[in-house]
């Protein structure tokens, strides 16, 4: 299975809009949303069936049995995350607890225990030979590379025969991005022509380069700042990165998304441009060269 990962360094560049257009154009049989913090892809790839849901467990969290607690304060004094609250009784701040187990270790009465905690939910939509894997992290559960790995694993297991998979990546630079990068054949970076967009793009390209993955770049909303767009293109030239095209800002695109449609479902300028980027991406991925 060839895997294409769409990344952007930061959110809001149009990564999901482009991923959904690619899925539509390709009639993709396998795709996944690795933005487990704020998944959006399901809003636009219409799913007819109900997903199969599964709880995802992160690190366990501490729980204090107040019947056994003698209020010696050891747990609170030794917790580095300020996760032990002392009110009338001792309590664990669920969101601050990192599950390190120090409180359990120091408690002389065995009143503290680590309990499994659901940190999110994995969802798998499968119908008509099409597989869509996604997940939603619970609030305050921290960024989890493991959940991203699970999303990808779930997609691969459910669609063993698919030749091609499209993955909407996680924003940022942290471990979820590293997890989404592992095992992919190519990364398409969606860049935005702003000073901060360029700075984020450079950081994400450096990260991806560490993995030895083929990297290509396209610009979204290129006409909002043509000068910066040119800077992005010359950066690509300088670093021998494949540049696959420019997509214009398009009011129609917003409307399409709001109606739950992809930008290639309607006749619009951004849709036309994304088609060209799509063709070049597939050519590069399946035929190589540049």
């Amino acid at each position: 299975m060839k895997q294409l990962l769409i990344l952007s360094g930061k959110g809001g560049t149009g990564k999901t809009t482009i991923a959904s257009a690619f899925i539509k154009l390709n009639g993709a049989k396998a795709y996944a949303d690795c933005d487990v913090d704020a998944p959006n892809l399901h809003l636009i790839t219409k799913q007819i069936s109900e997903p199969k849901k599964e709880d995802y467990y992160g690190l366990p969290k501490a729980e204090i049995n107040t019947d056994l607690c003698i209020e010696c304060d050891q747990c609170r004094q030794n917790c580095r995350f300020e996760a032990i609250l002392k009110d009338e009784k001792y309590e664990v701040d669920y969101y601050a607890c990192e599950g390190c187990g120090v409180c359990e270790l120091v408690c002389p009465e065995g009143a503290v225990a680590l309990k499994p905690a659901a940190a999110g939910e994995l969802m798998l939509y499968a119908s008509e030979g099409e597989v869509f894997s996604t997940a939603q992290l619970k609030m305050g559960s921290g960024n989890s590379g493991k959940l991203v790995t699970e999303v990808k694993k779930q997609m691969k297991t459910a669609s063993k025969n698919a030749e091609f998979a499209i993955i909407d990546g996680s924003p940022g630079m942290g471990c979820p991005v590293i997890a989404s990068l592992s095992g992919v054949d190519m990364v398409l970076v969606v860049a935005e022509p702003s000073i901060s967009g360029i700075s984020d793009m450079v950081r994400i390209i450096n990260t991806a380069a560490n993995f030895g993955v083929r990297i290509a770049v396209c610009i979204n909303k290129y006409d909002t700042n043509t000068e910066n767009s040119e800077k992005i293109e010359s950066f690509c030239k300088e670093h021998r990165l494949s540049f696959l095209g420019r997509i214009p800002f398009d009011v129609d695109a917003v409307e399409a998304i709001n109606n739950g449609r992809t930008i290639v479902d309607i006749d619009c300028t951004s849709g036309e441009a994304v088609k060209a980027v799509y063709d070049r991406t597939l050519k590069l991925l399946f035929e190589g060269g540049g």
Binding site: G9, K10, G11, G12, T13, T16, D37, A38, N40, L43, I44, L59, P60, N78, R80, F81, Y95, A96, E98, G99, C100, G101, V102, L105, V106, L114, L137, M139, G140, S141, G142, N143, P171, G172, M173, G174, C175, E192, P193, S194, I195, S196, G197, S199, D200, R203, T207, T224, N225, E227, N228, V251, V254, E255, I257, N258, G260
Partner: protein, 294 residues
């Protein structure tokens, strides 16, 4: 007065709103808590920068004392330790600095040392004091940097020092609703949520709205990039009864200023007016909340 600016996702204009609100205030502090991708300094270009490293504690082993009992290896929930061929290996970037192994070691072979994970920069940009947190790539958690940023700000604004309620601080939060965002809003008096007028925008707004209500924070929404026609985010606010603070129309001029990392209120009279009036609205909201709660 501490105002946190958040959004469910990056790219909604969170930094634009917090930067411009800070710049529209006579004297203010801007804190960039988006430590993975701090962008506020690109706008402010602060001068007179003062840098301080931020460290966490990680274990160090004295081989003389280690007898290979492996209690620390078994204890570590993060698997940051391994013991093979008579030596203990410590993986520093996996360690969460809980200190458990040091407490546990029966031979007292483990001690702690400091490890730099990033830094805090302070500088001035006109009347705005700019705080930036920068997390080194590959480090597991930016929370210690955020805590340092907020603590430094608090110690500078001691009650009685200058009237704390008048000193405005704007906190540019990381995107999303992870624990790092919770740290950022912990001490905020008010939260501004920035939302885009799309279906995605609504979904993300809903997430971050749930987060701030979980913390019982008073909240208002800035609708950004508004276009003609229906605005799903506005509809959402109406349905939930969330206060809409202002609507910023989609505008090429603002887009261009922003993409060139210029501060709109310093370049355009129009935006000075828009953000000054937003600032007044926010101040009134906060006073109202304080009066209401006391």
């Amino acid at each position: 007065m501490r105002i946190a600016v958040l959004s469910g996702k990056g790219g909604t204009g969170k930094t634009m709103v917090s930067v411009n609100l800070s710049a529209a205030t006579k004297k203010s502090t801007y804190i960039d808590c988006d430590v993975e991708e701090p962008n506020g300094h690109l706008f402010f270009k602060p001068v007179g920068i003062n840098e301080e490293e931020v460290s966490v504690l990680i274990p160090e082993v004295d081989k003389e004392f280690c007898n290979g009992c492996k209690k620390c290896v078994d204890f570590c929930k993060f698997n940051a330790l391994a013991y093979v061929k008579d030596s203990l290996i410590i993986f520093e970037d996996i360690c969460h600095s809980c200190g458990g192994c040091v407490l546990l070691c029966p031979e007292k072979a483990l001690t702690e040392k400091e490890k730099v994970i990033g830094m805090v920069q302070k500088g001035m940009s006109d009347q705005v004091e700019v705080f930036t947190g920068i997390l080194n790539p590959g480090e597991p958690s930016g929370v210690p940097i955020i805590n340092r940023l907020l603590d430094e700000n608090k110690s500078e604004n001691k009650p009685g020092n200058k009237s704390e309620s008048e000193q405005m601080t704007f906190i540019d939060c990381p995107p999303g609703s992870a624990c790092i965002v919770m740290e950022s809003i912990k001490d905020a008096d008010y939260c501004i949520l920035v939302a885009e007028p799309t279906l995605f925008g609504v979904y993300n707004l809903n997430m971050v709205y749930e987060l701030v209500t979980l913390f019982n924070k008073p909240v208002g929404v800035v609708l950004n990039k508004c276009l003609e026609g229906e605005n799903p985010a506005e509809k959402f606010c109406l349905e939930k009864g969330i206060n809409v603070l202002t609507r910023i129309p989609f505008d090429k001029e603002l887009g261009l200023l922003n993409s060139n990392a210029e501060i709109a209120v310093r370049k355009s009279e129009k935006y000075r007016t828009i953000f000054t009036s937003l600032l007044d609205t926010v101040k009134k909201e906060v006073h109202h909340e304080t009066a209401f709660n006391s």
